[in-house]
């Protein structure tokens, strides 16, 4: 049993970081990530952690210094949002190739233009091809636990890949919720310390890191990286079981909610899954068999397991909080791909919602369920929730 604290999602991330007490934290403030670094900086200032913290001059340097620290053998963390992620994109892309297990909370916010500081997933969906493990969190509790889990998954010898732990900007990052914080000693024993096996500072084992690879080797390097990504499923399960012994919670690849006998289902990431659960309960109360699938581990994507969970649902609505202009929305693309192998495929419908912080109401989700149950769907046309005109 832990202690219940009334904190925000940002503070939950900072709490996880307090317990991890990383060797190095590098950050540049950006709304809505700022309270994470402010809270952590306060821990440093009060001596609650003894992390070496570098307040850098840009996100590009934030990720660069994080990579430098990690290559030196430190457990290094950063955090960002939106434009910050865009500015550090080049280094975000380079990190998995170097196989550096950095864990970074990402507070999801839309990408300009127009400028807008509020939530959608256009930041993270622009980086899902780069080789980071992507974990999504519905609420502050999940943010906290997912960060702890991520450290161990990232640093496992079979993995050695970076992880982003996503939470919705403002909706999760700035809303106060009760969060159960587990015993410091138990958590610290779980996260352990990072091995210095690959440290650049090991002058007894001199190494070159980041050599150029010409066409004779780059392809093999990328294939090896893909292999590590494939190992994530097993490691995620193992580490999750270990974390369960402290938290009592399970760490599935995705959460299902009243899905078993559902005649219609919604797939949605992050905080909107909470709204969808309210809608599911309301519909069930009216005798409508509906359910939810909330992806948690989004990269690597657990195709087989998601297929098994969805194969008997007649109609599925996929709600994306970002667009892929001129193409299918990102989550919709994955779910449609999941269903391809089935002989009898469910009907699917793509919905886009909540861009730039537009609220989604449980009644709007209920309307989606009604539409799914009537079966008037068009898998080729994207529909919009809460859009004028």
């Amino acid at each position: 049993m832990g202690i219940r604290k009334a904190i925000t999602g940002a503070q939950a991330a900072a709490e996880a970081m307090r317990q991890i007490n990383p060797d190095v934290v590098v950050a540049y403030p950006i709304t809505p990530q700022t309270p994470i670094v402010e809270q952590f900086a306060a821990y440093v200032a009060d001596g609650i952690v003894d992390t070496e913290m570098i307040p850098v001059e840009s996100e590009h340097s934030a990720m660069s210094a994080t990579v430098g620290a990690e290559a030196a053998g430190a457990r290094a963390m950063s955090a960002t949002s939106s434009q910050g992620l865009a500015l550090m994109w080049e280094i975000v892309a380079a990190t998995p190739g170097l196989r550096l297990p950095i864990v970074m909370p990402l507070v999801n916010r839309t990408i300009s233009a127009p400028l807008n500081i509020h939530c959608d997933h256009s930041d993270v969906m622009g980086v899902t091809t780069l080789g980071w493990i992507q974990i999504f969190s519905e609420n502050a509790q999940e943010v906290y636990e997912n960060i702890l889990l991520a450290i161990r998954v990232a640093e496992d010898r079979r993995i050695q890949l970076p992880v982003m732990v996503n939470q919705d900007g403002f909706i999760t990052s700035h809303a106060v919720e009760p969060v159960e914080i587990f015993d410091d000693a138990a958590v610290q024993s779980f996260v352990g310390i990072r091995s210095l096996e690959r440290s650049l500072l090991d002058t007894e084992h001199v190494r070159t890191i980041g050599a150029m690879a010409l066409p004779d080797y780059l392809f093999e390097a990328k294939r090896a990286q893909e292999e590590a990504m494939g190992n994530v499923f097993q490691v995620y399960k193992e580490v999750g079981r270990e974390l369960s012994s402290i938290t009592g919670h399970a760490y599935p690849y995705f959460e299902t909610y009243r899905l078993d006998d559902a005649e219609a289902a919604i797939v949605v990431l992050n905080s909107a899954a909470g709204t969808a659960k309210v809608a599911v309960d309301a519909m069930r109360g009216r005798g409508k068999k509906v359910g939810l699938l909330k992806p948690i581990l989004f990269r690597p994507f657990p195709y087989e397991e998601v297929r098994a969970a969805l194969e008997n649902i007649p109609a599925i609505g996929i709600l994306d909080r970002s667009m892929s202009f001129g193409a299918c929305a990102p989550v919709y693309t994955e779910i449609r791909s999941v269903l391809y192998e089935l002989d009898t495929r469910p009907k699917v419908q793509s919905y886009v919602f909540g861009l730039g912080g537009r609220d989604i109401l449980s009644t709007e989700v209920e309307a989606v369920f009604e539409e799914l149950l009537t079966g008037e769907l068009d898998s080729k046309r994207q529909r919009y929730i809460g859009l004028r005109g």
Partner: protein, 314 residues
């Protein structure tokens, strides 16, 4: 006092931190700069290398010419990566996870320093990380075929600002990186040139022993894109100093000190001639550019001498 004999021993055989088999052009002085600088450290050196000539020629998988811990990430962030390494070093030491002392050296060309890496460098200097930043300055993007940089001198023809029928080459003077670095109030900034082995070595020693960030800018004439015979690299470096085009000086705790004063300043033509990038200046219609260049060099030199004489802290 270090001698060439001492340095020769430290840069050869198993003591060498940068070894043979790298792919820099024949006659390139960059490895010369690096071996001198690395030999100046009495501790193991962790090198973080910006993308550029040095990086692409010394670490081509599965070959590396580095016999010291070395890392490359990208082009514009060597100083930021060095900051992260320094923070890791401090933290791991504080936590008792590592022992031993190291020096941290970030190195880049002028493109990675004056231009695209400028912000990361300024940030790292301002935050006062304990590392040395070395720029080997060949006055343009030489790795990719002579494009203009903020270090390219006035009047030079580059592939992105070529001299032509109506253009006499680069219309701007270069940034003064040394003074910009010194304006961060860091303990050591030095300017040296590849031909002066002992000067490079001594300035690197000072940089490594500084209690805070240090910047060392070393001129490195490019045989390939300044287009001179590969045997003449050191001669062009020497001429750059003898013409006052590239004064050897340092700013130590804010105090300017000129480390080499030519007794008879040679005319700038002596440095310009034989370099393809300045060939157009010798056409009659461009003579005024050389005159202007000479005036600027003399003005800059006078200013530097006055700065030194004033003793005023930079």
């Amino acid at each position: 006092m270090p001698t060439l004999q001492d340095i020769a021993l430290k840069t050869s055989g198993s003591a060498a931190k940068l070894v043979s088999g790298h792919r820099m052009c024949a006659g390139c002085g960059i490895p010369v700069v690096l071996k001198e600088v690395l030999a100046a450290s009495d501790k193991p050196v962790i090198v973080i290398n910006a993308t550029g000539c040095l990086e692409v020629t010394t670490a081509v998988y599965p070959y590396t010419a580095w016999n010291t811990p070395w890392m490359h990430l990208t082009f514009e962030n060597a100083a930021a990566v060095a900051a992260g390494i320094e923070a890791a070093y401090k933290s791991l030491k504080h936590r008792g996870k590592i022992n031993g002392e190291v020096n941290i050296l970030a190195v880049g060309g002028d493109g990675g320093t004056y231009d695209i890496g400028f912000q990361a460098l300024s940030g790292a200097l301002e935050r006062y990380h304990r590392f040395m930043y070395l720029v080997y300055d060949n006055e343009g993007y030489m790795n990719t075929g002579n494009q203009r940089s903020g270090a390219t001198p006035f009047g030079a023809s580059t592939s992105t600002v070529p001299a032509g029928k109506v253009s006499p080459g680069k219309p701007q003077w270069r940034k003064n990186l040394v003074e910009i670095a010194a304006a961060h109030r860091i303990p050591y900034v030095g300017q040296s040139a590849v031909h002066n082995t002992l000067d490079v070595f001594k300035k690197a020693q000072k940089g490594f022993s500084a209690d805070g960030p240090a910047v060392l800018a070393v001129l490195q004439p490019c045989t390939t894109n300044w287009s001179f015979d590969s045997a003449l690299t050191m001669q062009y470096s020497r001429l750059a100093v003898e013409t006052n085009f590239w004064p050897l000086y340092e700013i130590e705790n804010g105090i300017v000190h000129i480390t080499s004063k030519p007794t008879n300043r040679k005319p700038i033509e002596d440095f310009l001639k034989g370099q393809t990038r300045f060939k157009h200046l010798f056409r009659p219609e461009n003579q005024h550019v050389i005159v202007e260049m000479q005036e600027m060099i003399d003005d800059e030199w006078d200013r530097l001498v006055k700065l030194e004489a004033s003793g005023v802290r930079f």
